[in-house]
């Protein structure tokens, strides 16, 4: 019961803030709406009993990526422009609506093999086991820092002053 209420509130906040990101004219307010969307997605992870992932979402998305986006917004002030739409407005809307209808139809017509076992909580130990344990995802864990190093070096080289 409480889970249903929490889900509906978080879902409505997520959708309204996502619409605000796309429809608001002031690009800084779009960034703030994006932060609200990230926070409500973290709440949705909590309703899905994914507590470690909710903490990671807040730390990485809200704590780092949002700050980076606002930093880039402040460095590229384009005050008269704001956040306009281009000429592909109507086809983009049609594509988005068509995508939603197709996926909703596929969702309704697929016989999902739902499991009734309770989810495992807390998830931190199990995720640690999955990432670092035997037959775990240790290879992606080792490749990820290389990706991050490449991204950091690439960003520095691209954005530095000549």
């Amino acid at each position: 019961m409480a889970l249903s209420i929490a889900f509906w509130i978080l879902a409505i906040v997520a959708i309204v803030s996502a619409l605000s990101v796309v429809l608001l004219r002031n690009v800084f307010r779009s960034a703030l709406a994006l932060i609200l969307c990230f926070l409500s997605v973290a709440g949705i992870y909590v309703t899905l009993q994914a507590d470690f992932l909710a903490a990671v979402q807040v730390l990485v998305y809200v704590g780092a990526i949002s700050i980076l986006i606002i930093l880039a917004l402040m460095l590229t002030r384009n005050v008269p422009q704001g956040s306009p739409t281009n000429t592909l407005r109507i086809p983009a809307l049609l594509v988005a609506v068509f995508f939603f209808i197709v996926v909703a139809w596929a969702l309704a017509n697929t016989p999902w093999q739902l499991s009734t076992t309770a989810p495992v909580t807390p998830t931190t130990a199990v995720i640690g086991e999955k990432l670092f344990g035997v037959s775990g995802f240790i290879l992606p864990v080792e490749i990820t820092p290389i990706l991050l190093l490449a991204a950091i070096l690439g960003a520095i080289v691209i954005a530095r002053e000549k």
């Binding site: 249903s4 889900f7 879902a11 997520a14 996502a18 619409l19 990101v21 796309v22 690009v27 779009s30 960034a31 994006l34 969307c37 990230f38 997605v41 992870y45 899905l48 009993q49 994914a50 470690f52 992932l53 990671v56 990485v60 998305y61 780092a64 990526i65 986006i69 930093l71 880039a72 460095l75 422009q81 704001g82 306009p84 739409t85 281009n86 592909l88 086809p91 983009a92 594509v95 988005a96 939603f100 996926v103 909703a104 999902w112 093999q113 739902l114 499991s115 309770a118 495992v120 998830t123 199990v126 995720i127 995802f137 990820t144 990706l147 490449a150 991204a151 950091i152 691209i158 954005a159």
Partner: protein
């Protein structure tokens, strides 16, 4: 009504459709990147939803979602660096004006 798999997947699809519209229809390059982050978050919700309702014992969806978050962070970094470099050279980040490679 109990919240089931369908609710979470519909929410993820709706967020993805909103992000898709924004990524296709906006001109500000940073807003396009923000909508791409929206789409990645929507996919994460779908991943975790499937993991919770179809195979609750293996947390494969959550592990995948962690890696998606990492890749999204790396991609946002490089994308925003490119946008800053473009702004430094052309004084604009309007995607409809940065069309040198267009046909």
């Amino acid at each position: 009504m109990a919240i089931g798999l369908g609710h979470y997947i519909l929410l993820a699809t709706l967020l993805f459709a909103i992000g898709l519209y924004g990524a296709l229809a906006k001109r500000n390059a940073i807003v396009i990147l923000m909508c791409i982050e929206l789409m990645l978050n929507a996919v994460n919700i779908a991943m975790v939803g499937f993991s919770r309702f179809v195979t609750p014992a293996l947390l494969t969806g959550q592990v995948f979602a962690i890696f998606i978050i990492v890749v999204a962070a790396a991609e946002a970094t490089v994308g925003l660096a490119i946008v800053i470099a473009i702004y430094r050279n052309r004084q604009t980040i309007d995607a409809s004006q940065i069309d040198l490679l267009k046909w």
